[in-house]
């Protein structure tokens, strides 16, 4: 068993010990989804069935919402002394962090599955074939991986578990200022431009096009570039912070 696998098992046990956190990270996106699709969505004219429009954004929201738990967990490790035990053992330096990233991805997968399940129950009928679904899965996992590393870095940099949890709030808010809920061109000036150029919009557009069975190559390539960039920044930032904090 590799060091990373051992650390992943540890993180996974932590998650299982705290089912309320998992429930919370699944429940919140589902509630938002039901609220927008059932309660508010009827008022939005987006050209297609609203549940079809909203689901890709909700997948993104589900990923982001789970991140605060990751940031808090990473920071607890750093501030509660156990990290020093790992550091003075002949253990791969990145294993602790990799464990957190993969655990974060696993809980993301659970939340995404729940969102997609609820979407189907609400009448979501995507046109995507097998290739489309594979593309959606791949992109969602890549997104989860890259924001996972970014969140690990956030968690490492924060002073306490509480501030680490708060640090991920912008990531939770970002989907609301993207084309997740309504198209960017329906937003006010300033917000519209922000929504258009922020990384989540092309990712949502890519997911939307893949689910609709009409892949938007530009959006997919832009998404891949954003994900790679976020992952790289997160990874470098995380490793540097990890090595600096004794």
């Amino acid at each position: 068993m590799s060091d990373s696998t051992i650390m992943l098992r540890r993180n996974f046990k932590h998650t299982l010990r705290n089912p309320a956190a998992v429930f919370n990270s699944v429940l919140f996106p589902v509630v938002i989804m039901v609220m927008f699709v059932y309660v508010i969505g009827g008022a939005f004219d987006v050209g297609v069935d609203y549940v079809d429009y909203a689901t890709p954004g909700m997948i993104l929201l589900a990923v982001c919402y789970g991140l605060s738990a990751t940031a808090t967990a990473v920071n607890s490790d750093m501030t509660k002394g156990i990290i020093n035990r790992f550091k003075v053992m002949d253990v791969s330096r990145g294993a602790v962090l990799t464990g957190h990233v993969v655990a974060s991805m696993l809980s993301n997968v659970i939340a995404i599955a729940a969102i997609v399940g609820v979407a189907f129950a609400l009448g979501f009928r995507p046109a995507a074939g097998l290739t489309g679904w594979l593309g959606v899965t791949g992109l969602a996992l890549l997104l989860s991986f890259s924001v996972g590393w970014f969140t690990v870095a956030l968690g490492l940099s924060a002073k306490s578990p509480e501030t680490a949890g708060l640090g991920s709030v912008p990531l939770v808010m970002l989907p609301f200022f993207s084309s997740a809920i309504v198209p960017a061109d329906k937003m006010g000036a300033g917000v519209e431009q922000f929504a258009e150029y922020q990384p989540f919009t092309p990712i949502i557009e890519a997911l939307r096009s893949l689910l609709a069975g009409t892949p938007d190559t530009t959006a997919v390539i832009t998404s891949l570039a954003w994900c790679a960039g976020i992952a790289l920044v997160g990874y470098v930032w995380a490793i540097r912070t990890f090595n600096r904090r004794a």
Partner: protein, 312 residues
């Protein structure tokens, strides 16, 4: 491996402009207990952090278990076990799972777990989350985790600070057992008694410098012995007492007299008889045995800062 477990030359560390370790030299033979004695802020934890590869030195060199600290940090890590001041345990896991985690990471066999639980008196609590453990139990679990994989050299940073007297004795017994099994112990403490009880050699650390190094007996020779302190009702009585007991010295307050002694009952009885014979009666008597404060006074010419703050 040579018979030297830890060899340190000119180790230096500063945090910003504050010099924490100002060039220390240490030599710890394999299979012995070495104690680094000093008050809070002397640099004890920094020394442990440097020697266990947690932080990097600014200067000097060190070999731990025959491996160079800088060039072969992994070799050092594979040979050592560390129990710091604050229990490095995973609160969300059970005691058993914490030990299993160490077994997995050190590629050791799970067969050691029941023995460790029993040795540290944790049998029965192994299925409970560590978050529910008492401070003493956490310390014991922490040390049990350190022992997984049978490290050659064990660093213990103030292992008994905050423990009740009974747990402290248990910890001492465990440390003695470890050394009997061939392990080298590097122990930091702020208690002279602990160093005295356990250590083969003691180094006294003060403000980042080693001010004395030797066996407990060697160090004690540098410390003034125990003395009896007598307080009298008025300066005249104190003066009279000082006259009849030639070795006595008078304190500045004028009513207190110090008489050096060996701490035994025979010399105390002799002193009291002598006072009685001359019709002098003290209002209060106290026996003062040497403590860290005396060591510091003797070695550095000033009082132990921590003691000073807490007793005055």
């Amino acid at each position: 491996m040579s018979d030297s477990a830890i060899e340190v030359t000119g180790l230096r560390k500063a945090f910003g402009t504050k010099v924490v370790l100002d060039g220390i030299d240490l030599h710890v033979p394999a299979g012995t207990i070495f104690s680094l004695l000093g008050p809070n802020g002397a640099g004890k934890t920094t020394t442990v952090n440097l020697l266990t590869t947690l932080i990097r030195a600014d200067g000097g060199s060190a070999r731990v278990a025959g491996h160079d600290l800088i060039k072969n940090a992994r070799g050092v890590r594979a040979a050592i076990g560390v129990t710091g001041q604050f229990a490095a345990v995973d609160d969300l896991l059970t005691g058993q799972e914490n030990l299993q985690l160490m077994v997995d990471l050190k590629r050791a066999g799970s067969a050691v777990i029941p023995g460790l639980l029993e040795r540290f008196d944790l049998t029965g609590a192994e299925q409970k989350a560590v978050a529910t453990y008492s401070g003493g139990m956490r310390r014991k679990l922490d040390l049990a985790m350190t022992l997984v994989g049978a490290p050659q050299i064990i660093f213990l940073d103030e292992p008994t600070t905050g423990l009740d007297p009974r747990s402290r004795r248990t910890m001492w017994d465990i440390i003695r057992d470890l050394v009997a099994g061939g392990v080298t112990i590097f122990l930091t403490t702020q208690y002279l008694e602990e160093a005295d009880q356990l250590a083969d050699r003691i180094a006294v650390l003060d403000q980042g410098r080693i001010v004395a190094q030797g066996t407990a007996a060697e160090l004690k020779r540098q410390i003034p012995g125990s003395h009896v302190r007598l307080r009298f009702g008025d300066p005249a009585a104190a003066e009279a007492a000082a006259r009849v007991v030639p070795s006595a010295t008078r304190d500045d307050d004028g009513v207190t007299v110090r008489v050096p002694g060996d701490g035994g009952t025979a010399s105390l009885r002799e002193l009291l008889n002598r006072l009685d014979d001359h019709g002098t009666h003290a209002e209060e008597l106290s026996v003062h045995t040497p403590d860290l404060d005396d060591v510091f006074l003797a070695l550095t010419g000033r009082s132990h800062p921590a003691t000073e703050a807490s007793t005055r």
